[in-house]
C-alpha cells in the first residue's frame, strides 16, 4: 500500500489552542488514566488526612472487642465499620494508616531505584562500548537474583523495618529503569540536537541532564508508575512473610498475615486489606497504561 495520504492531508490536522488544553482533553479521553488518577488522588488524600479521617486510634487494643465483623454482617456495628482485628484494633483506622505505608514505600522505592537505574542506563546508552558492557553485566547479574528471596534474606539479616524494606527494594528494583533509560538514550545519542550540543562544546553533565534526560523522561515516568506498584506489592509480600514492616505497624501485608489464622471463618480479615492493595495497585497500573498511551498515541498496540 503506497502512501495514500498526500502531504496536504496531514497538514490539515487542526491545531489545538494550547498544549495544556490539549493535554487536559486527551487526559479526559483516556479512561484508564482518568480512573487511575482519581483513585490515586483520593487514596493520597486519605493518606495525608489519616489522623482526621480514622475513627479510632489504629494502635489502640481492646481485648473485649476482638474480631468484631464489619457492618454488613448481622453482628457488625457502625462503631467499627470494618470490624476489629484479633487484638480489638479498629480495622478501618488501620487500613487508613496503612495507605501511608504503602504509598510512602512505593514512592520512595521508585525514587531510589529510578535514580540508580536511570544513571546507569543513561551512561550505558550514551557512552556505549565498555561502559555499556559493564552496565549490561550488572543488569544481567541483578536480573538473575531472585528479588523476593534476596530481599527476605537481607531483611532478616539486617532486621525488618520500614526503612530496611524501602532501602532494600530501592537497591533491587532499578533494572527496568536501566533497561528503558539505556535503550531510549541509545536512540537519542545520534539525534541532531545532541550532536549539535556536542559540537557546541556543552559540558557532559549539561548534555545528559538538559538534553537527554528531558527527552527520555516520558518513558521513565511510565516505568516509575510500574515500579511504584511493584514496590507496594513486594512490601506487602515481605511484610506478609514477616520480614518487612514489623508489628504493630498497620501494613496491609502484615494485616493479611495476622488475619491468616482466622480467614477460614472470617474471610473479611484478609479480603479487606487485600482488596485495598488490589485497588491501589490497579489504580497505579491504570495510570501507567494511560500515561503510556498519552506519550505514544497510536504507537503502542497495548
Amino acid at each position: 500500500m503506497a502512501n495514500i495520504l498526500s502531504p496536504q492531508v496531514a497538514a490539515e490536522q487542526p491545531l489545538a489552542a494550547t498544549w495544556q488544553s490539549r493535554l487536559f482533553r486527551s487526559t479526559l479521553n483516556n479512561r484508564s488514566l482518568t480512573i487511575g488518577l482519581l483513585i490515586i488522588t483520593s487514596l493520597g488524600v486519605v493518606a495525608l488526612l489519616a489522623p482526621w479521617l480514622a475513627p479510632h486510634d489504629p494502635y489502640l487494643q481492646n481485648t473485649a472487642n476482638r474480631m468484631v465483623p464489619p457492618f454488613w454482617h448481622d453482628t457488625g456495628s457502625w462503631t467499627h465499620p470494618l470490624g476489629t482485628d484479633r487484638l480489638g484494633r479498629d480495622y478501618l483506622s488501620r487500613l487508613i494508616y496503612g495507605t501511608r505505608i504503602s504509598l510512602f514505600i512505593g514512592i520512595v522505592v521508585a525514587l531510589i531505584s529510578g535514580l540508580i537505574g536511570t544513571t546507569l542506563g543513561v551512561l550505558a546508552g550514551y557512552f556505549g562500548g565498555r561502559v555499556d558492557a559493564v552496565v549490561s553485566y550488572l543488569l544481567t547479574t541483578r536480573l538473575a537474583m531472585p528479588v523476593v528471596l534476596v530481599a527476605l534474606a537481607m531483611a532478616s539479616l539486617i532486621g525488618g523495618s520500614m526503612l530496611t524494606v524501602t532501602l532494600l527494594l530501592g537497591l533491587l528494583l532499578w533494572d527496568r529503569f536501566a533497561v528503558v533509560a539505556r535503550s531510549a538514550t541509545q536512540q537519542l545519542r545520534d539525534a541532531e540536537y545532541i550532536q549539535a550540543a556536542q559540537a557546541l562544546g556543552c559540558p557532559l553533565h549539561y548534555i545528559l541532564l538538559r538534553e537527554v534526560l528531558p527527552n527520555i523522561a516520558g518513558a521513565l515516568i511510565v516505568v516509575a508508575t510500574l515500579e511504584v506498584a511493584n514496590a507496594i506489592l513486594l512490601e506487602a509480600t515481605l511484610s506478609f512473610l514477616g520480614m518487612g514492616v514489623q508489628p504493630p505497624s498497620p501494613s496491609w501485608g502484615l494485616m493479611i498475615a495476622e488475619g491468616k489464622a482466622y480467614m477460614f471463618f472470617q474471610p473479611w480479615v484478609i479480603t479487606i486489606p487485600g482488596s485495598a492493595l488490589f485497588v491501589l495497585v490497579l489504580a497505579i497500573n491504570l495510570l501507567g497504561d494511560g500515561l503510556r498511551d498519552l506519550s505514544a498515541p497510536g504507537g503502542r498496540n497495548e
Binding site: 500500500m1 503506497a2 502512501n3 495514500i4 495520504l5 498526500s6 502531504p7 496536504q8 492531508v9 490539515e12 490536522q13
Partner: protein, 349 residues
C-alpha cells in the same frame, strides 16, 4: 473451479479477462472519508501487459488491492462492474474469492525484502499455494517450484529451495516472488511496483524476465509503476492515474506519441532525455500539489496545476475518445491530442 472457467474462457474469447467500471474505494480517516479511488474504468485483455501509471497516492495500489480482495477491512468498495472472466468480484463469496487468489490471479509486491515469511524455507512457501489450490503431490509441487525457480533464472535452485528468505538478495527474492506468482499458472498477475525497491541494474533484469514470462505463459499482467521509463519498455497499453481517477488510457505507442491529457504531457516532460536535457539545467516539474482526496473533489482534479485550465474545468470532464482505444478525461483532449509534443524515440531511451 478452474475447469469451469476454462470452459467459459473458450466460449467467450472476445470478452476481456478483467473489466472494471466505475470502481470506487473509500477509506474512513480521522477527518472524514478518503476517496482513494474515484470511479475508474479500465479493462485487461487476455495475455496483455497493462501498465497502471501514477504518482504515489493516486490510488493505483488501492486499485490492485481491491482487485485482489485484500483491501483493509474498513475500506469500502463499490463499482458498476468488477468482472474477472465471468466472475463478479463484487458479489463473490470470500471462500470463492480465496479460491481465485493465488490460483487464477496472483500478485507480486513492491518490497521483496519483507514479502516473504522469514520463518519458512522458500520451497515451503513456493509449494503451499499450489498445494492449496490443486490436488498435487508434494513431489509434483516440489518439481514445479524447482522448474519455475530455474525458469526465473535462479541457479542452484535445489539448494535455494531449502534456504530461508534472509539468505537471498532483494533481486533474488523478487525472482522467487515471480516464480511464486506463476506456481498455479494464473490468468492475471498484478505486479505492484515490483522493481521500485531494487537496484537499477537488477530492475532491468526483472523487467525483462517479467516480459519474457508474460509472453511465454500468455499471462495478463497489470503492472503498477510510477516510472514512465519502465512503462515505455514493457507496456502494451497504459492507464494513467491521477488523484484516484484514470485520466488517460491508450496503447503505449499512442500515449508516448500523442498524449492528450495535460497531466500525461507534464509527466513526459519531466523525464530527462540524454540528448535534449542540458547538463546542469533544471529538471522539469509539474507545479503545485495533488488535491486532498478526503473531501469531495469538484471538477477536474488537475485544474489547479494545469496551464490550460479555464472555467470549464470546474465541471468534471467526461471521458473523451481521442482516437481508437485512446480515452482522455480532459475538456481539451481533442485540441491537445494533435500536436505531437514529445519525441517518443527519446523517451523510450
Amino acid at each position: 473451479m478452474s475447469n469451469q472457467s476454462s470452459v467459459e474462457r473458450s466460449t467467450a474469447p472476445a470478452s476481456p479477462l478483467l473489466s472494471v467500471k466505475q470502481l470506487r474505494v473509500d477509506l474512513p480517516v480521522a477527518k472524514g472519508t478518503l476517496h482513494a479511488v474515484r470511479g475508474i474504468d479500465f479493462h485487461v485483455e487476455r495475455g496483455e501487459m497493462l501498465c497502471l501509471v501514477g504518482e504515489s497516492g493516486c490510488g493505483k495500489s488501492m486499485t490492485s488491492l481491491a482487485l485482489m480482495g485484500l483491501l483493509p477491512r474498513k475500506a469500502q468498495i463499490n463499482a458498476d462492474c468488477l468482472n474477472f472472466d465471468g466472475v463478479d468480484l463484487l458479489t463473490v463469496s470470500e471462500h470463492e474469492r480465496s479460491n481465485l487468489r493465488g490460483a487464477r490471479m496472483a500478485m507480486i509486491f513492491q518490497e521483496p525484502m519483507t514479502a516473504l515469511n522469514p520463518a519458512y524455507t522458500l520451497g515451503n512457501q513456493l509449494c503451499e499455494a499450489l498445494r492449496r489450490h490443486q490436488l498435487v503431490s508434494r513431489k509434483a509441487a516440489h518439481d514445479r517450484a524447482l522448474y519455475l525457480l530455474k525458469r526465473v533464472g535462479i541457479s542452484a535452485a535445489e539448494e535455494r529451495m531449502r534456504q530461508y528468505p534472509h539468505q537471498l538478495s532483494g533481486g533474488l527474492r523478487q525472482r522467487v516472488m515471480i516464480a511464486m506468482a506463476l506456481m498455479c499458472e494464473p490468468d492475471l498477475i498484478i505486479a505492484d511496483e515490483p522493481t521500485t525497491a531494487l537496484d537499477v541494474t537488477i530492475q532491468a533484469q526483472i523487467l525483462h524476465l517479467l516480459r519474457d514470462l508474460q509472453q511465454e505463459f500468455g499471462t495478463a499482467v497489470i503492472f503498477i509503476t510510477h516510472d514512465l521509463g519502465v512503462v515505455a519498455r514493457i507496456a502494451d497499453r497504459v492507464a494513467v492515474m491521477y488523484a484516484g481517477e484514470v485520466i488517460e488510457t491508450a496503447s503505449a505507442q499512442a500515449l508516448f506519441h500523442a498524449p492528450s491529457h495535460p497531466y500525461t504531457q507534464g509527466l513526459l516532460r519531466c523525464i530527462p532525455t540524454p540528448s535534449k536535457t542540458l547538463p546542469g539545467s533544471r529538471l522539469q516539474a509539474i507545479p503545485g500539489v495533488v488535491p486532498s482526496l478526503v473531501d469531495k473533489v469538484e471538477g477536474c482534479a488537475f485544474c489547479n496545476r494545469c496551464d490550460h485550465a479555464d472555467e470549464r474545468c470546474y465541471s468534471t470532464p467526461p471521458l473523451q475518445t481521442v482516437a481508437d482505444r485512446h480515452l482522455s478525461r480532459c475538456h481539451f483532449a481533442h485540441q491537445l491530442a494533435n500536436p505531437a509534443t514529445i519525441n517518443a524515440q527519446e523517451v523510450t531511451l
